[in-house]
Amino acid sequence: MALLILLGVPLFAAAVLAFVGDRKVAPEINILGSAATFIAGIWLAFEVYVRGPMLSGGKSFFVDEFNVYLAVLTSFVSMTTAVFSRRYMRREREHGRVGHVGMRFYHAMFQLFIFAMLLCLLTNNVGILWIAMELATLSTVLLVSLYRTPTAIEAAWKYFILCGVGIAQALFGTVLLYFAAEKVLGEGGDALLWTNLSRVSGSLEPTVLSLAFVFLMVGYGTKVGLVPLHNWLPDAHSEGPTPISAVLSGLLLNIALYALVRCKALVDGSTHTHHAGDIMMGFGLLSIIVAAFSLLRQKDVKRMFSYSSIEHMGIATFAFGLGGPIATYGALLHMLVHSLAKSSIFFTVGHASQMHWSQEMDRIKGLIKGNPLVGWGLMFGVMAIVGMPPFGVFTSEFLILTATIKDAPLWTPLLLLGLGVAFAALFRKVQPMVSGDVPSYQKPMKVAHLPVMLHMALVLVIGIYMPDFLNQWFHKAVALLR
C-alpha cells in the first residue's frame, strides 16, 4: 500500500505538473508532491522496520533493509531539493535563463525522475531495474540542457550518448544473467526476480555470471561515474541547473551503485571468488585518485564538487568491493551521508553562484560576511564532505579506512594519497570563497534556509549519534550482501 503510494505520487505529480506548467503554484505542487512521497517513504520504512523484508504487487516489488533506507533517502532529498528549487528556479526564471516551457518541463521531469529512481530501488525485477535506470537517464537529459547554451547542449549530448551506451552494456549483462538464470529457474518472468535469483545464486553458471558482471559493471559503473567511464559527469553537473546537479550526485549515483552492488551479490554467490570485488576495488581506487587530482585544477565550483562526487562514489565502490562486515557497513553509511552532505553543498553553491551570477570560483568571495547561512553552510558542508568529524562522512571513512588497512594494507597508501590530495584541493579552493570581505558585485538575496540546515543537522546527528534502527538495517543489509 505505502509502496504504491510511494510510486504513484511522483508519477501523478509529474502528470499534474505537466499540465500546470509555469503557473505560480507549480513549485508548491512540486513540493507538495515530493512531501507526500516522503511521507509515504517514512510509512514504508516503518512497515519494513516492524515487519521486516516484504514482497508486494505480486512478486514484482521487493523491499528489504538495503533498499528501504535508500528509498527514504531519495524521497527526502527530492523533497528538500524541491523546496530549494522553488526560490532558485524562480530567480532563474526572473533572470530569464529559462522560459515557461522550460519551467513546465522542469517540474514534470523532476517528478518523473524521482519516480524512475524509486522504481529502480523498489522493483524486484532486474529487467525493470534496467528500464527504470534508462528512464532516469532520459528524464534528466533534457533537464541538463535546460539552459540551451551551447555548453549545456554539449553536456547533455555527452550525458545522453555515454550513459546510453553504458546502459546498453548493462542490458547485455542482464540478458546474460537471464541466460544463466533460466537454466535454473525455468523460463518466464520469475527468472529475473531478485528474490529468486539470490535464492539460487549458488547454482548459477559462474562463467556466464562473471561475463555478465563485466557488462553490468561497465553499464551501471558509467552511471555511478567511475573512472574511466566518468567523463559525462562533470559536464552534466556543471551545466545543468543546480537542483538537478544536487539530485544527480545526491541520488542518481547512489541508485546506480545500488544496482551494481545487487548484481555483485549475485555474482559472488555464484562464483565464490573475490573477482567481482577486485574489479570494484580497482575502479573505486582509480576513481578516488583521478578525481582527487582533478580537484586540484578546477575553476568552476559545481564542476569541482562533481569531481568530489566521483571521488566519494569511488570510496563507496572500493568499500563494497573490499567486502567484510566493517567495510560494507561503512560503504552503506557512506552512501547515505555523502548524498545528504553533497546535495546540501550544491544548495549553498547554487545560492552562492546566484549571488555572484557566476560559477567561477575566483569571483565568489566573502560568503560568510555576505550571507552567513550560505557561507557557513558551504564551509561546514565541505568539512563534512572531506571527512572532518563530527560529521557522518568521517564515521564511514573511518570504518572503511581501518578495514582497508586490515584487509588490504597494500592499497592504503594510494587511498591515503587520494584522500589527502582531495582534502587539500577542496580546502584550498573553498577557503577563499567563504572568507574575506564582501566584493562589490555580490548581491544579497533571500535563500532557502531549511534544506541546508536540515541536511547538515542530519549529517551531524548521524555522525555523533546514529539512530539504532539505521544501525540494525545496515547490519541486516551487510548480512544480505556477504
Binding site: 529487467g127 547542449i153 554539449e154 549530448w157 540478458v175 541466460f179 527468472a191 553458471e205 556466464v208 561475463l211
Partner: protein
C-alpha cells in the same frame, strides 16, 4: 518446418544482421546508412518471429511486431525526416579510415566468438550460437559511434547497438519476459524522441550536426 531448418534460417539471418552491421560501419552516405539500419531491423524482427515460432513463445511475436514498427518503420522514417529537414545528405567523413575500421570490426567478431565460447558450451538452445553475433554487433555499433563524428551517425550506431542487444534478448535466450521487452521498446521510443529534439537543438546552436565542435567542456589549462 523442423527445428533444424529453423535453426539454420535463424543463423542465416544472424549472418545477415552481422553483414548489415558491417555495412553500416563502412557506409559513407546518410541515406544508405538509414536503409541499412532498416534492413537490420527487418532481419531482426523476422528472426525474432522465427524463434518465437520454434520455441512456441507467442509473446515473441509481439516483440517482433514491435521491432518491425519501431526499427523498420518508425525510426528510419524519423531519421529520414530529420535528414531532409536539416539538409544533411553530404558524405560523412570518418575519423579512422575504412579499412582499419573493417579490420577492427573483424577482430571484434573473433573476439566475441571466443568470448561466448564457454557460454555456448553450457547452453542447450538451438539459437545459442547467436549470442556471439549479438555481442559482435553490439561491439560494432559502439565502434561505429567511435569512428563517426556526426550526430546522426552516432545515433544510428547507438540504435545498431540496441539492435544487437535486442537480438541477444530475443533470439539468444528465447526472449526475455514480455514486460522487459515492452519496457525496452518504450525506452527506445523515448530515446528516439529525445535525440530528435536534440538534433534540432544542436543544429540551431551549432548550425551543423558535427559533434567535433562539441568539445568545449574540457580541462583546459
Amino acid at each position: 518446418m523442423n527445428l533444424h531448418l529453423a535453426a539454420q534460417i535463424i543463423s542465416f539471418l544472424a549472418a545477415l544482421v552481422l553483414l548489415t552491421a558491417f555495412g553500416m560501419l563502412v557506409q559513407r552516405r546518410m541515406y544508405g546508412l538509414i536503409h541499412l539500419f532498416a534492413w537490420q531491423g527487418l532481419f531482426l524482427s523476422i528472426s525474432t518471429a522465427l524463434v518465437g515460432f520454434v520455441a512456441g513463445k507467442h509473446h515473441l511475436y509481439i516483440s517482433s511486431l514491435l521491432t518491425l514498427t519501431l526499427k523498420v518503420a518508425l525510426l528510419p522514417y524519423i531519421l529520414h525526416i530529420l535528414v531532409q529537414r536539416l539538409r544533411i545528405h553530404k558524405e560523412i567523413e570518418t575519423v579512422v579510415n575504412v579499412p582499419t575500421t573493417m579490420l577492427i570490426g573483424i577482430a571484434l567478431v573473433i573476439f566475441s566468438y571466443h568470448l561466448t565460447a564457454p557460454v555456448r558450451e553450457i547452453s542447450t538452445l538451438v539459437t545459442r550460437s547467436i549470442l556471439a553475433v549479438a555481442l559482435a554487433s553490439v561491439m560494432i555499433g559502439l565502434l561505429m559511434m567511435i569512428t563517426r563524428k556526426h550526430a546522426v551517425t552516432q545515433i544510428i550506431g547507438f540504435l545498431a547497438m540496441e539492435n544487437g542487444l535486442f537480438f541477444a534478448a530475443t533470439s539468444a535466450t528465447y526472449g526475455m519476459p514480455l514486460v522487459v521487452e515492452l519496457g525496452v521498446a518504450l525506452d527506445v521510443l523515448i530515446a528516439a524522441f529525445i535525440f530528435g529534439i536534440f538534433f534540432f537543438h544542436i543544429h540551431t546552436t551549432f548550425d551543423s550536426l558535427d559533434v567535433e565542435q562539441m568539445a568545449r567542456l574540457k580541462e583546459g589549462d
